[in-house]
Symmetry: C3
Subunit: 434 residues, 3 copies
C-alpha cells in the first residue's frame, strides 16, 4: 500500500478509517472478512476462521450472520428506512423477516433515541434470536399508525468466526499485547480508530529492532477475545503487558483504565507517559465492564492488560450512535493516539533492570569524560542528564527498573534511557535482564 509522501500519519490513519467505514461488520460474517482483507494491504496479518459450534470456555461460537438488504416500506412503496443508507438501521444479528406488519406490532421492533432525535442508535442481539430496526427518533415519529412492508434479507447459518492476528518476534519471548475489536459496523471512534492505531503501531514497530515480542489482535468483541484466549492458553504466560485500544480519534484527552491489580508494569508505563505528556488526562480504576479488558483481566486469565482511550467507555454523547462517524474523529487526534501508543511501547521495550558495576560510592564520571558524552545541549539539559546519571547509578541495585528510576527521579523515561545507554557503553551499568 503506497501512500503519497505528503500525507501525515494522521491522514493515513484517517484514510484507512474512511475505507473501512461503509462495511457492515458484526461478530461474524463477510463484513469482518472484507475488513481484514483491506487491513492485509497494510500489514501481513494472519486471518483465522473458527467454526460455528466450537466451544470456547463457557461459550459457543454462534452461527455466522450475513445480510444483503433491509428496509421498511410504507403502503406507497416508499422506503422509509433503508439499510443502504446506513447499516446501523438493522438490529445487528437480526434474523431474516419478510412481510406486512401493522404499526402496533412493528413498534416493539423499532429502536430510537428520543433524546437525540436525529441520530440512529446502534443495537445488537447476538445471543437472542430477534429482528429489529434502528432509526432516528424523527423518522419514528413520522411513521403513522399504518401497515408497513418489512424486509430483512439476512442469513444466520453455520459458518465461522473470523479474526486477525499479527505476531512480531523480538529478542525475548516476553510479549506485549495490543488488542482491538473489529465487530462494529459504521462507527468510527468505536472502534475503527482502534483498528487504525493498532494496525499502524504494528506496521511501525515491525520496522524496528525490538527487545520484546509484540502481538496484535483484531478480534470481534467479547466472543472474539474469549475465542482467542481459549485457543491460545499456552501463549498467555509470555504476555507481560497489554492494552485494549479503542476510542482513539475523538477530541477528548486521554483516559487510562488500569489493570485489575492497578500496579502492573503497563500501568506504570502508561501513567509515566501521561504525566510527562504535559496534557490533562484521567486515570480510572479497573471495573469488570467495558471492552475486552474484562476478559483479559478475568481471574483465570489474569493478564496485566489496561485500556488507553481518549473519551471514556460509554461516556461521550455520540457513543453507539450514527454520530460516531467520520466527523467525530480527526487525523490530528488519531496521530496523537498513535504517538502515545508508540511512546508506551518504547518505554516497555526499554524498561530494563541495570546493575551498577561500581556500586561502592559514586564512580568518577569526570575521568571518563561522561559529562562531555552527553553534551551538545544547553546547560539545563546537561544538568538534567547529569542528575539522570546519578539517579541511574544510585538506584541500579537490581531492585529498580529504568521506569521505576524515572518515576522516582521525576525525569522523563527517554532521558533516563539515553543516559543509561551511555553508562552501559562505558561499563558502568550492565543489563540484568537482557
Amino acid at each position: 500500500m503506497d501512500t503519497p509522501k505528503s500525507l501525515t500519519k494522521g491522514d493515513e490513519l484517517y484514510q484507512l478509517i474512511k475505507r473501512l467505514f461503509p462495511i457492515c461488520r458484526s461478530i461474524t460474517g463477510n463484513g469482518v472478512r472484507r475488513s481484514l482483507e483491506i487491513m492485509q494491504e497494510y500489514l501481513p496479518l494472519q486471518v483465522n476462521e473458527v467454526p460455528s459450534g466450537t466451544a470456547v470456555f463457557d461459550w459457543i461460537i454462534p452461527k455466522e450472520w450475513n445480510i444483503k438488504d433491509a428496509y421498511i416500506k410504507n403502503k406507497k412503496g416508499q422506503k422509509l428506512v433503508d439499510f443502504n443508507d446506513s447499516n446501523l438501521h438493522v438490529l445487528n444479528y437480526s434474523i431474516p423477516v419478510k412481510g406486512n406488519y401493522p404499526m402496533k406490532e412493528l413498534a416493539s421492533h423499532l429502536f430510537s433515541i428520543p433524546g437525540s432525535p436525529a441520530w440512529i442508535p446502534y443495537r445488537t442481539s447476538y445471543y437472542e434470536e430477534k429482528w429489529g430496526f434502528c432509526l432516528s427518533h424523527s423518522q419514528l415519529q413520522s411513521m403513522q399508525d399504518d401497515d408497513y412492508e418489512v424486509c430483512i434479507d439476512s442469513t444466520l447459518e453455520p459458518g465461522s468466526l473470523t479474526y486477525g492476528e499479527y505476531y512480531l518476534p523480538g529478542q525475548t519471548e516476553e510479549e506485549c499485547l495490543f488488542s482491538c475489536h473489529i465487530c462494529h459496523p459504521s462507527l468510527c471512534n468505536d472502534n475503527l480508530s482502534g483498528i487504525a492505531v493498532v494496525l499502524y503501531l504494528a506496521k511501525m514497530l515491525s520496522t524496528r529492532q525490538n527487545r520484546l515480542s509484540y502481538r496484535f489482535l483484531f478480534i470481534p468483541g467479547t466472543i472474539g477475545a474469549i475465542t482467542w484466549l481459549s485457543l491460545n492458553e499456552n501463549k498467555l504466560s509470555n504476555i507481560k503487558a497489554g492494552l485494549v485500544a479503542t476510542l482513539l480519534g475523538d477530541p477528548a484527552s486521554f483516559t487510562y483504565k488500569k489493570t485489575r491489580s492497578g500496579d502492573e508494569e503497563i500501568d506504570k508505563a502508561v501513567i509515566h507517559f501521561l504525566k510527562f505528556s504535559g496534557k490533562d488526562f484521567r486515570l480510572i480504576d479497573f471495573f469488570p465492564y467495558g471492552y475486552d479488558e474484562r476478559q483479559f483481566n478475568s481471574p483465570g486469565i489474569n493478564l496485566p492488560v489496561g485500556s488507553l482511550t481518549r473519551s471514556q467507555y460509554g461516556q461521550y454523547p455520540e457513543y453507539h450512535t450514527s454520530a460516531d462517524n467520520l466527523k467525530l474523529v480527526t487525523p490530528e487526534k488519531l496521530e496523537d493516539s498513535l504517538n502515545a501508543y508508540l511512546a508506551i511501547a518504547d518505554i516497555l521495550d526499554n524498561n530494563i533492570v541495570y546493575i551498577n558495576q561500581y556500586p561502592k560510592c559514586e564512580p568518577q564520571l569526570g575521568k571518563r569524560g561522561l559529562y562531555q558524552k552527553i553534551g551538545g545541549m544547553n546547560e539545563q539539559e546537561k544538568e538534567l542528564r547529569r542528575m539522570a546519571m546519578l539517579w541511574c547509578l544510585n538506584l541500579s541495585d537490581g531492585k529498580n527498573s529504568l521506569l521505576e528510576i524515572a518515576d522516582r527521579a521525576s525525569i522523563p523515561f527517554d532521558v533516563l534511557k539515553q543516559v543509561a545507554t551511555v553508562l552501559e557503553e562505558n561499563g558502568l551499568l550492565k543489563c540484568l535482564t537482557r
Copy 2:
C-alpha cells in the same frame, strides 16, 4: 417476657432500660445480680459467680460490695443528701461509716461538679478503701460550716463477682463477641443502652440460622473483662471479631473506635456499614483507654475487638453524671443502634470467600437467564446487580472475601450477598470457607 405488639423495638429497648435504671449496680454485689435476673426474663443467659480473692491475671477479685442506705443529715435531722433519691449520691464502693462530722472534715469526702451545679457526679473507689458522697454543687453550696450526721450503711465482705454470658452456636466454631459492662448504677447511656442493645441483638440473632457462633458478655468493666478473659483463655482462638457496646442511646451519630491493628475484618465491616448508612460518622484510631476494648486489645490477648458507640467516650457533657438519665436516651436512637449492630453481624455472618467456578473469561450469564433471576426491580437496581455479579465473578479468585469485593466495587454488602447467592445457586460460585 411478652410485649404488646404495638411497641417498636426502640420502645422495648427503652422499657428494659427503665426497669434497670433504679438499681444500684457496682462491679460486684446484689445490684448486678438483680439486673441479670431481669435480663434473664428476656434471654436465657448464664449467670456466673467468681469468688472474692480469685487471682485473675495480675488482679484479684475484690470483696463484694452491698449497700442498704446512706444519707447526710443536718442538726435538725433533715436529710440533705439521700441515697434513696439517687444511688449516685454514694461514692460507689464506699466503706461503711456512721457518725457526726464537722463540715471541715466532711468536705474532703464530698464530690460535686462546679461547672454543672445541678448535676450529681458519678464517682467510684474500687481499689482504695474510702467513703464519700457525690452531690450537686448547689447542694454542696447550701451546706453550712456546721456538724452533720453521716451514714453509709454498706458492707465490703468476701463474696463474689457476678457476670452474665450467652453463647449462640452457629455452623462454625468461629465466633463473634459482643461485650457490654453492667457495673454502672443509675446511668442510661453509659451503659444501660449497651446492655439493652446487646441483649436484643442476642435475642434476635438467636431466632436465625447463623454461620458464625456468637458470644455475648454482660460483665463489670475492667475487672469483669479481665476475669472472663482469665477464665476463658482456651476460647479466645475462636474469636474472629468483636465489639464493645456502649453509649448507644444518645442523639449523636455513630463513632467507631478501631481495633489495635485497625485493619481487621470487624474494622472493615463496621466502616462498610457506616459508609453506606448515608449518615455522618466518626472513625477514631485505637488508644489504650476507654472501655473494655483496652483489655481485649492488650498484647497478650490481642483480640480484634473494636467499639461502636454514638457519642465518644467521655466526650459528652452528661458523661458520668446524673444527667445521663432516661431523658438522654430515646427509643429511636436505641433502635437505630440495634439495627446497626444487626447489620454488622449480618455482614460478618455472610462475609464468605467464594471461588469463581468459571474463572477463564466471563461465563455466559445470558444463557442461564441470570439477568431475569435478579429481576423484579427497576432498571437502576438491575444495573447495580449486573455490575455486582461481574465484580463477584471477577474478584472471586480466592483472595477476596465478599466484604472486600463490596468495598472495592463500592456496592452495598447486602446487594453483593444477594447476587452471590444467586451465582452460587447457579454453580458459578462455590464457597471456599463454608
Copy 3:
C-alpha cells in the same frame, strides 16, 4: 581547652568557628592539618594521612595542594586581588602560575557573580589542572583592558589526604555515624557550622554513658568520604544510623533530607524530633546529589544516613560565596542545631524494644503505686504520663520500638522514655535488645 563559664554553648561554637574561619582549607594540604590540630584542642580525635596515589574504590587520592600567596597586580604594582584579603580569591586547587597576562587572556581565568556584585564566589578545580581567580564582580568591572601581573604561589605534589576521626564506644557495637566535611576554606555555614556542631556533639556525648557507639568523621567532601568508606568497609555493618552535618548556623528553620529508603530509624528519629519541636521544618526526599550522603547512600555502601541542615543545600543566596561568613551564622542558631543533634542522639540511644511482662490485659498499676512514682507534676502532665504508660504496655509486644510507640501515641519520645524506665524498674517491661 578551658572556656569561661559565662559563655553559652552557642558562644563556644561560634568562637571555634572564628578560629577556623581564616584558614585556607581544601581537600588536602596544610590548611586541613592546621584545622584538625585546633579541633584536637577540644576533642582527642585521631588524625589520619592517606598518601596521594592510593586507590579508593573508583578514585585515586590526588596530589596534595598547598598555597602561600596569590595576587593580581596592575601595571602600577598595586594588588587588585590579594589572597591575603580572602582565600576565596584563588580557584581552590589552582596550579602555580607566575607571569604577565593581557586582560583578554586573563579573563577566562576570572570568576565573579554578576548578580551579586559585592561577593566573591567560591570555586574549585580538583580533578582538572587549572588556575584561576575568584573576585567580586565590581572588582572585575574595575579592571581595564590592560596587562596584569599574575601570581599563584601554590604547589601540587605527592603528599596525602588528611582526615580526622573520633570513635566513642558504647554498650553495644551498633553505631551511629556523624560526618561533616572539612574542605571548605573561609566559609562559615558551609561548613564550619557542621564541624563545630559535630565536635561539640562528640564532646558532650563523651561525658555520658551511652548504649550505642558513636563515630564522628571530619573529612574532605566526596574524596574524603570515599577514602574513609574504602578503608573501613569492615566497619560498615555496625552502622545503624547516621547524619551528614552541615549548614547549621544560618537563620533558617531545619531541613531534613531523608535516607535513600526514606524509612530508616534515623528518618523516624529526626522526623519525630522535628514534629515535636514546635517549629516549622522541611522534609525532602533523598536525591543523589548534595553532600556526602551521596556516598553513604550509594547502592554498594547502602548506609542509612540522612542529612539535617538548616538552609537547604545550594538554596540560600550566600551559598558558596564570601557572604557565607561570620555574619551569616549566629551563636543562637548554632546552639539550637547542637541541641537538635543531641536530642536525636538521645532518641537513637534510647530507642529500645521492650516486652510487656504482663501482656494479658492491663497490669494493675494502682497497686504498684505507679501513678505516684511518675508524680510531682501537674494534672495534665500526670495524665500524659498515664497515657504514655498504657501505650508502652499496649504496644510492647516485641514489634514496636519506643520511638514507634511514641509516634503512634503522638507523645514526645522523652516522656515515653521516662515512663518506660519506671515500668522497667517495676518489672512490667523488659528490654528485648539490650
